[in-house]
């Protein structure tokens, strides 16, 4: 069962990622990215990470992708124009990607002592996660909340500045 679920959702992941590259309209890319992220949530669940699966669906597939689709619609982003691309990407980028994939795959395939994942063992409950998160890692957690607050303020300041200037010039 685990094997079948893994194969189905791994294929979904890869198909979504390839579709993200092939689509020329940003909204289609955003929707295929949602497919990738939701399939990854199922894979997290297969690996026994219950809390992360829920957080992946809510934070990534929910909040972040809503933000993406909202910006795509707000800016009325159309089909991307086809250009030749940069020479650096062709000469350095693609060989580097192939090299990285080859090195990673060879290391992973040669790795010994990696276990297997099944449906029954190794499930981490939310209780265990929160016990560590709110005792050992309380300070990083609080720092993250400050970071998110600063990010909200920064986003509001960045996105609203142009509008404010425009309003001032119009009122003059």
């Amino acid at each position: 069962m685990h094997l079948i679920l893994f194969l189905i959702f791994a294929v979904f992941c890869l198909a979504g990622a390839v579709n993200l590259l092939l689509q020329s309209h940003p909204i289609n890319s955003a929707l295929s990215l949602i497919v990738v992220m939701t399939s990854l949530a199922v894979l997290y669940l297969l690996l026994g990470a219950e809390f992360l699966a829920a957080a992946q669906v809510i934070v990534y597939a929910g909040a972040i992708m809503v933000l993406f689709t909202f910006v795509v619609m707000l800016l009325n982003a159309g089909r991307e124009e086809q250009t030749r691309g940069s020479i650096a990407a062709k000469t350095v980028g693609f060989p580097a990607v192939v090299a990285i994939l080859a090195v990673l795959a060879s290391v992973i395939l040669k790795a010994q002592g990696l276990g297997t994942a099944s449906l029954v063992n190794g499930i981490t409950s939310t209780v265990e996660v929160s016990k560590v998160l709110f005792t050992d890692l309380l300070l990083p957690f609080e720092v993250t909340s400050v970071l998110v607050l600063i990010a909200i303020l920064g986003a509001v300041a960045l996105a609203s500045r142009g509008n404010g200037d425009q309003g001032r010039t119009v009122s003059k």
């Binding site: 990738v36 990470a49 992360l52 086809q82 990407a89 981490t124 890692l137 142009g162």
Partner: protein
């Protein structure tokens, strides 16, 4: 479909291979896409691929802190997405384009 296939476990190498493949697809997307928003989506794809590696190794070693690291990556990615998309909106206001080929100067 026989019962042996239903009972079979998945080696963790496969999860890591999937993670590496997703990461490389993200890099390729970063290189070939010509729309600022889609380039940003490719970065999110790379972050997700690395998260899958973290969860796989957390499962391998039975370490809860690996999963908590993924949680922190998600929080930082959310903050990054909010700020990044605000920057994209500001760039679009200044340039009226999202094509990365035309956004090649820092100054206006």
């Amino acid at each position: 479909m026989n019962a042996a296939l239903l009972q079979q476990d998945v080696p963790l190498n496969w999860y890591l291979l999937l993670s590496a493949a997703l990461f490389c697809l993200g890099v390729i997307g970063f290189l070939i896409k010509r729309n600022l928003i889609t380039v940003f989506m490719s970065i999110e794809l790379m972050l997700n691929a690395v998260n899958l590696s973290f969860v796989t190794f957390a499962h391998q070693w039975g370490a809860v802190k690996g999963q908590i690291f993924v949680f922190f990556v998600m929080m930082v990615a959310a903050a990054e997405a909010a700020v990044g998309l605000a920057i994209i909106i500001a760039v679009f206001r200044a340039r009226a384009t999202l094509a990365v080929d035309r956004i090649d100067l820092m100054k206006l």
